[in-house]
């Protein structure tokens, strides 16, 4: 059987190395394994499972670019290959964090330096509950080493920058060595951070991914430009992944994907993996803690002769003397040679204005190296109101001591090697004119640690690995505690900083995870049922998620397959399925517009919306169409007719004079679904004004105000305090359609065990509310005179209202989403909303 082409995405680029297909519609996949992220970890897991006969879907947020697309221009490449185009910072903007975002992940933009996981680190992790025996570690490391073609940098490949560090180390008698790198016949162009144009760097794209895609034995589909947002699960079993195909230029969501899978592996890298877990309320009390960064600070030695450090392998040499590779157990640091293309260089040196110009003018005379500290796991990732990741990190005082020591050592080394002066990253003292300034620099670091410029290319941790489920997110097989088939494997599972450049350790862990899944496939995973959910993708069963072009085609192609009597509604026939969060509403057919994000449709969505009701009147079928926001009830008569273009359709003829120029055509496609078109004119001709769908069942994201009230009254109760603690995201309820997420509520307990709630509305308005629990509901008060009332439906779903104080003024005005209620004391406005624990 011929296989599908295997890489998909939104960007059609000429002459790709691998077969590529444009994504032009929503996608549903049913596979054995879904892997999220295609970096050091994800690529390996996907490869190993696909080559062992599992069907695999790999989802990657970035795009797919080949070596020949990499043009060594910084602005072009950073914006294509780097996460947030390089602008990822900690919340105080102090530290920039570099990560890749493209097919192959950070391995495409890294410096190709390879270190096996040091014994010291392995032993420490073991003490922290990671039970991976050395034999397994070694085998996995060897396997990776071979597959990514690691070899030692040859002496002739060391450029003057690397050699200067080498000489300085040897002079001091420090333990040091040339690096191992995953590169074959390196062209030594120096542009590693911009992707390797010569395809000599053995990143994930040209090794594991290429092999998986080209092997006739593998069954893999890779979707690029696809950002994963959701993992669905219940009772410790994950059953699917949902994501958005996002247009790089506009940021608009073009299409949706749902992947039903028996095993799900999250490998989105540090920060992003924690973000995905947190968004989905997976290990919410543990995920996002314990981040480490290997923060690095650079020192430039200004030499008399040109060093031309840009020319050649950027990272070729390392001083091990003070680091984990020399057996240092407690923190420590490595000194690594490095150099940067000019834009990154100019961004990396912390100087200003004329100072900066002076510095840049000597670009070719600098030798550069960084002190990379093995820091403590004290960083955190949390979610902002809109679900973005917020990284908080203050290096510990021990880490700062290591910086002080490391910078001293490195400065001395540069002076020993003959540097005229040395330039550092502390804002109180950029230039060390002579050796005697070293003490001043060290003092500056000690006295004003915040003044030291630091950067990170090695974020790690956040989803700690270890056998204790109360403190760790994943166990020693990288399986999320409390789940049978959900794994996280990437740099985020490191319990502490590994102490050396991390890619090979990430790859080894991924190798072990893939082996575990393969080995236990039959006993644990093969028999898991595959979900049939469709997420938020468009289909006949859920036309409310369709774009107009797709709905149009559906209408044209689909036959009316039900008798016209199917139309008849049964008022009072309303039910709510708590488990599925689905509403069945046979009071009328709820109408849905298409999801196209153009302005007119959006306006119609939020301020329009309609229902149609059908009944038997005087023995004949009759109907009413009602827009939610206007007191209009348009009478109509449905009749079956044969249309020259659409075949058998229900022809809806409006009887009132004011609507006589309109008609609808409907196709009833199943018991609960109708596709429709509205026309202006005279049938069979007529000017089509709208394509829409109608349904008798929809999920709670589409609920009407009446649905909300029923659920609030009949299916919801006052919550228990412990059950509400955590983060909830909310949508407003509007009759017409689904509204976007507008608020987040975070409930916490204060020191006295009292509940409090922090709210953020629209990403802007933030504040704290007092929480009062009554037997009826949860009440929340802030400084305004409106208050919230909330009830719980399930552990993950609540409904609420934000209400004004009662008044006697007549309240029959205002937009429809502000409902009016009668309560003791008068009438009040209420804004209705829903709250979900998972975004």
């Amino acid at each position: 059987m011929e296989k599908d082409q295997m890489i998909y995405g939104l960007e059609k680029i000429r002459d790709r190395r691998e077969a590529y297909t444009l994504v032009t519609h929503d996608v549903v996949e049913n596979v054995d394994v879904c892997v999220i992220g295609s970096g050091a970890a994800g690529a390996i897991v996907a490869n190993k499972l696909a080559l062992q006969g599992k069907s695999v879907v790999l989802l990657e947020k970035g795009g797919y670019y080949d070596a020949e697309d990499m043009n060594q221009r910084e602005t072009d490449m950073i914006s294509l290959l780097w996460k947030n185009a390089g602008a990822t910072f900690t919340d105080n903007l102090r530290m920039v964090i570099a990560q890749g975002q493209c097919l192959g992940g950070s391995t495409v933009i890294n410096d190709a330096v390879c270190f096996k996981t040091p014994q010291v680190t392995r032993d420490q992790w073991r003490q922290m509950g990671v039970s991976i025996p050395d034999g397994k570690w070694d085998a996995a490391l060897d396997e990776v080493w071979k597959n990514i073609h690691v070899s030692k940098v040859k002496d002739y490949e060391l450029n003057e920058n690397n050699k200067t560090l080498q000489r300085a180390c040897l002079q001091k008698g420090y333990l040091s060595s040339s690096n191992d790198r995953n590169c074959k016949d390196c062209m030594q162009c120096g542009f590693c951070h911009l992707g390797c144009h010569y395809e000599t760097k053995q990143d994930m794209l040209v090794t594991y991914i290429r092999k998986a895609v080209r092997s006739p034995d593998s069954d893999i589909k890779i979707y690029c430009n696809c950002s994963v947002e959701k993992i669905t699960y219940s009772d410790g079993v994950a059953d699917g992944v949902e994501g958005d195909f996002v247009d790089r230029t506009t940021g608009a969501v073009k299409f949706k994907i749902r992947v039903n899978a028996k095993v799900i592996v999250v490998s989105a890298g540090a920060i992003a993996s924690s973000q995905i877990l947190l968004k989905n309320a997976i290990a919410p009390d543990r995920a996002g803690r314990g981040l480490t960064f290997h923060p690095a600070s650079f020192l430039l030695g200004r030499f008399d002769k040109p060093v031309n450090a840009y020319d050649g392998i950027p990272m070729g040499y390392t001083c091990h003397q003070f680091g984990v590779t020399n057996g240092v157990k407690d923190g420590g640091f490595l000194i690594e040679s490095i150099f940067l293309p000019i834009l990154q260089f100019s961004l990396g040196v912390p100087s200003f204005f004329e100072n900066h110009q002076l510095l840049m003018k000597d670009y070719v005379y600098y030798a550069m190296a960084g002190v990379m500290v093995r820091d403590e796991p004290v960083g955190t990732v949390s979610l902002t109101a809109d679900g973005s990741a917020k990284v908080h990190y203050d290096p510990s005082s021990r880490a700062m001591k290591d910086f002080a020591k490391g910078l001293r050592v490195l400065a001395e080394m540069w002076f020993d090697a003959g540097a005229r002066h040395v330039i550092g990253g502390h804002r109180d003292l950029f230039v060390l004119e002579s050796r005697s300034d070293i003490d001043r620099m060290v003092k500056a670091v000690e006295e004003n640690p915040d003044g030291l410029a630091i950067a990170s290319a090695h974020p790690q941790g956040g989803n700690r690995m270890g056998d204790d489920p109360s403190t760790c997110v994943v166990d020693s097989n990288c399986r999320v505690h409390g789940f049978s088939n959900l794994f996280v494997t990437d740099a985020s599972v490191f319990p502490t900083a590994v102490g050396v450049n991390p890619q090979v350790t990430v790859m080894a862990l991924a190798t072990l995870t893939a082996d575990y899944i393969n080995d236990s496939w039959k006993s644990q995973f093969a028999k898991l049922p595959l979900s049939s959910a469709e997420g938020e993708t468009c289909s006949l069963g859920q036309p409310m998620y369709c774009h107009s072009s797709r709905l149009e085609t559906m209408f044209n192609r689909q036959e009316n397959s039900m008798p016209i009597e199917t139309l008849v509604n049964k008022p009072g026939d309303w039910s709510f399925d708590k488990k599925q969060l689905m509403i069945r509403n046979n009071n009328h057919w709820k109408g849905f517009f298409t999801v196209d994000q153009d302005l007119t449709t959006m306006a119609v969505k939020y301020f329009g919306g309609f229902w149609k009701q059908f009944f038997i009147k005087d023995g004949k079928l009759a109907g009413i169409t009602h827009p939610y926001d206007a007191p209009v009830f348009a009478d109509n008569i449905p009749d079956m007719t044969s249309h020259p273009r659409y075949g058998d359709v229900v022809y809806l003829k409006y009887t009132g004079a004011e609507f006589a120029m309109f008609y609808d055509l409907l196709k009833i496609v199943d018991q609960d679904t109708i596709l429709g078109k509205a026309f202006f004119g005279v049938p069979p001709n007529g000017n089509q004004i709208l394509v829409f769908s109608m349904s008798r069942k929809y999920n709670v994201d589409f609920m009407t105000e009446t649905d909300h009230e029923k659920i609030y009254q009949e299916h919801a109760l006052a919550p228990e305090i412990d059950k509400v603690v955590g983060r909830w995201t909310g949508r407003l309820v509007s009759d017409s359609a689904q509204t976007p997420h507008v608020q987040t509520f975070t409930y916490t307990k204060d020191n006295f065990g009292k509940l409090q709630m922090q709210y953020v509305f629209g990403g802007l308005l933030a504040g704290m509310s007092r929480v009062v629990l009554t037997s009826e509901q949860l009440l929340m008060y802030d400084y305004t005179n409106w208050h919230d009332e909330v009830r719980m439906v399930t552990d993950d779903f609540m409904v609420g209202k934000w209400c004004s104080p009662p008044t006697n003024i007549p309240l029959d005005f205002g937009p429809s989403f502000l409902g009016v209620e009668t309560v003791p004391g008068g009438k009040r406005f209420c804004l209705r909303f829903t709250l979900k624990r998972r975004m």
Binding site: K12, R14, D15, T24, H25, Y65, E68, D69, N71, Q72, R73, E74, T75, D76, I78, S79, L80, N84, A85, A87, T88, D91, N92, L93, M187, C189, F191, H197, Y198, T249, P306, N308, Y310, D311, P341, I342, L343, S346, L347, F352, F353, M360, Y363, V364, T384, D386, S388, R427, D450, S549, T553, N556, R557, R645, F679, G681, V682, G686, N687, Q688
Partner: protein, 202 residues
Amino acid sequence: MADTYIAEGRILDEKRKPIKNLYVEAFDDDVGLGPFSSVFGNALSPNDYLGNAFTNKDGVFRIKFKTASFKGKYEVFEGQPDVYLVISDEYGVIKTTAVNNRPKNNRFEFKVTIKDESPFFDPYANSAQRLLTQFTATGQSADPALINPIWTGPLLIRSITSYLHYSDPRVAQLYGNPGPQVSARPKDSPDHEHIIPWRKTK
């Protein structure tokens, strides 16, 4: 029968494999402006609807229609129809064909190849703008209460000036860095050699 026509043909993909289950609609282009507006069955469109059919497993379709379909009340000059097809797969329209007005024995024959005709994505377009947009987006994950403006303010300004100044690779040369060793659009010159010219010049 003289007043019965047939539009028929075969639809193949680029590899000349037949495509089944495509929905083919035939229209008559009345005003001679080509297939322009009738895709959505627009009443104001003068184009007449002739019929539809699905392709079978061999990619073959066949649509029969009669004179009455295209001879409207006022179309006294209409001789024979100018037929074109609108073809959709499950997800939407994938092709609108050119007009065929040369029937043989009342048969309009169509040979259609479905190619991916969507435009290429330019990976290098607007890079600088994309970068700066991302820069502004950084604000979302930042916490104003924690930022030290004395330090960060100038750093951000400098970063932006750096982007503006050093983005042009020619500027690098002023500082002694020969800059990129490949052309800005390497795929435009597929035979380019992989050498590092700067080594030669040094």
